[in-house]
Assembly symmetry: C2
């Protein structure tokens, strides 16, 4: 018996073809995940969220995930969780030290709670959680001053990278009356 979370074909292709690709600047990494969030809406394969994991030092892409909650029948299948699980599976380890997560939106309470266990040392967010809330998504109950708490844990949090581009995808999803859960 096992749990299987199947990636949509287009994302499998991107993971296969783009793994190891260099994304030098944080903005390039952000625009890559924002484009994935847009594609997830366009292909109707899940919610308007995407995330990817990069080697902090080299800038190489390790894995890319999108939100698959509804199609995968899995409330845990947020983009960030998918990206983390894929990277860990690829590297055969539960610890992604030396890695950075770039997410098209600030993390919900679950994904945020997952960061310290993942070994990730840096988290980059594009849209703010208030942008997700503005179109009806619940981000959950996060601890107060979580950015400071994570910094104390040795995890850098970088926010508002390419925020307006990320917001366009969220607004477009809302306009199309996408599933909000």
């Amino acid at each position: 018996m096992d749990i299987q979370l199947k990636l949509p074909d287009w994302l499998s292709r991107i993971n296969t073809e783009k793994a190891g690709t260099l994304y030098n600047r944080i903005e390039q990494r952000a625009e890559f995940v924002i484009e994935l969030s847009r594609l997830n809406v366009e292909y109707n394969t899940g919610g308007p969220f995407a995330a990817a994991i990069f080697d902090i030092k080299t800038g190489n892409l390790i894995s890319a995930g999108v939100n698959l909650v509804v199609p995968a029948h899995c409330s845990i299948a947020h983009a960030e969780m998918m990206a983390m699980m894929l990277a860990q599976q690829t590297r055969c380890t539960h610890t992604l030290s030396g890695c950075q997560l770039v997410s098209s939106c600030q993390l919900c309470a679950m994904c945020l709670g997952a960061i310290p266990w993942s070994g990730l040392k840096s988290v980059v967010c594009c849209a703010r959680d208030e942008d997700a809330r503005a179109i009806g998504f619940d981000e959950g109950d996060k601890p107060d001053n979580w950015i400071e708490k994570y910094t104390v844990r040795g995890i850098d949090i970088i926010v508002d990278i390419s925020r307006s581009k990320a917001c366009e995808v969220l607004k477009d999803y809302a306009k199309k009356s996408g599933h909000i859960y």
Copy 2:
């Protein structure tokens, strides 16, 4: 491309054989998950934590999970997350309304954050988070007054059920110098 999380054989057997079994009282449900946490240590298949999902009204078992972080190369594979993913896969839905999670220990920040997205309406915990911290496990940064916040969301939180029995498993794991991560 997909993510696969394989259950140990003994747990697959329990999921197959015990699904639908009636656990009338909360204490029976708690003792079932505590026994699973003990078996996970005995069989050396993961950390000293287990969780299961039951139909609140009927008391029937839906799914059972254990901590598989190290063997599954997956920092997300906490017992509670495994139980949720299994139940959702079994029911072909991302929403477990009418269901209760019973966990051998209070939930970490990630698993706690996962609850509202899972549709679960009741969470029962055996050991306290301080009991897990006492043997070296980090429970993460949880929101202040989270029990009250979850109650407002319509999610009942019940704590300290069979706590001392659950603590015995944690202490035994620590004595055996089990992997702490």
